[in-house]
């Protein structure tokens, strides 16, 4: 009996120390609602353009004929090509790969891996005897862009299944987001929560909410379309932390957490950014 109470007590202690992902998400929305009481939080899917009017005008002008359209078209072509074995990407995904971006990353209860969309695309290639594509830019990013394009307007719906490994992956991603790192000792949070909407030198910082809804992105600075993990690497370098490899466990866990935080928000990828 006594041990039962101890067990209960321990359970409660653990439960209160670890909020559930859903509690985290709601608390985060509340955080931004208090910081920006006059803003529609759903605007944050547009990153810095939710905050910077002058930049927004130029961005809207770019959206008239955005540079990522080239990637969508290339991606559609690549997506519809058949592999040497006669199969295609459509065979690897639910609903033939159309309109499913919002479900990624997902936790695979069989392998225990976090499956990002890019991971799934390359897994599909490997399963069909094709060589995997490079992670950061090029064909993989273009295919990802096309798949994102077919999912526009859907709501981000990342699921954390009832599996301790999934929750652990989520928690690791969360710890990563809030941990200071690099010579500048910045956590993702320092820029994208506390300073969201502020200027860092010439740049306006985007908010964490909605940060995962619009990838891949054509950044003018890159001059091409690139994946979220390319941006992770760049963020790390900017605070002088040695980046991890794209699609490493750490980055996939980070994407899992980050995407869950955008749950319920509109998918609007691919996007263009400065």
């Amino acid at each position: 009996m006594k041990s039962f109470f101890i067990a209960c007590f321990l359970f409660l202690a653990v439960a209160s120390a670890h909020a559930t992902p859903e509690e985290d998400r709601l608390a985060l929305r509340e955080f931004f609602a208090q910081r920006f009481p006059d803003m529609d939080l759903n605007e944050m899917i547009n990153g810095l353009y939710a905050f910077d009017e002058g930049a927004r005008e130029q961005w809207v002008e770019m959206e008239d004929f955005p540079p990522y359209e080239i990637a969508i078209e290339d991606g559609e072509g690549a997506f519809n090509k058949t592999f040497a074995n006669g199969k295609s990407y459509a065979d690897c995904f639910e609903n033939g790969g159309i309109g499913i971006r919002q479900n990624y990353p997902r936790f695979d209860t069989e392998s225990g891996e976090i499956i990002t969309l890019e991971w799934a695309i390359n897994q599909c290639r490997k399963d069909n005897g094709e060589a995997p594509l490079p992670w950061l830019t090029g064909e993989l990013a273009a295919i990802s862009a096309y798949m994102a394009y077919t999912s526009r307007g859907n709501e981000m719906s990342v699921v954390i299944p009832d599996d301790p490994r999934a929750l652990e992956a989520y928690e690791s991603g969360k710890e990563y987001y809030y941990t200071r790192r690099g010579q500048l000792e910045f956590a993702c949070e320092n820029c994208h929560m506390q300073s969201a909407g502020n200027k860092l030198r010439a740049d306006t910082l985007s908010a964490m909410l909605g940060q995962a809804t619009h990838w891949p992105v054509y950044r003018s600075k890159w001059g091409e379309i690139g994946t979220l993990h390319k941006r992770f690497k760049e963020c790390n370098s900017q605070v002088r932390a040695k980046p991890y490899e794209a699609q490493s466990k750490v980055y996939r866990e980070l994407e899992y957490f980050l995407s869950y935080m955008s749950n319920g928000m509109e998918m609007n990828g691919p996007a263009s950014r400065r």
Partner: protein
């Protein structure tokens, strides 16, 4: 043969509004390849010709100061649904690309 040109065109009150996006590196010749340390040679579109039913309506001459994957927009009068619009470019290496569409 260069990458295909993307054209978006519509007719509004007898005026054709044309927008085009042309995938092209537009190398200015001043950038240095980070890996080799060598200057990346100039590679940019020099001339764009836009024809309406075979007649030139707008010609553009460009320098290296036009952005990568160039975008241009222009308008002209007298276009009807079914009319043809052709846009072509030529770059400093002699490479070209042509695209024709029909107004809806």
């Amino acid at each position: 043969m260069g990458s295909p040109i993307k054209i978006r065109a519509k007719i509004k009150d007898d005026i054709a509004e044309v927008k085009a996006l042309m995938p092209h590196p537009m190398e200015s010749g001043v950038r240095v390849d980070a890996d080799t340390g060598e200057a990346i040679p100039k590679h940019y579109i020099q001339e764009v010709v836009c024809k309406h039913n075979g007649n030139v309506v707008t010609k553009a001459f460009w320098g290296t100061g036009v952005s990568k994957d160039p975008y241009m927009a222009f308008k002209f009068k007298g276009a009807k649904p079914g009319d043809k619009l052709e846009i072509s470019w030529r770059d400093n290496t002699g490479d070209t690309s042509v695209k024709e569409i029909t107004f809806k």
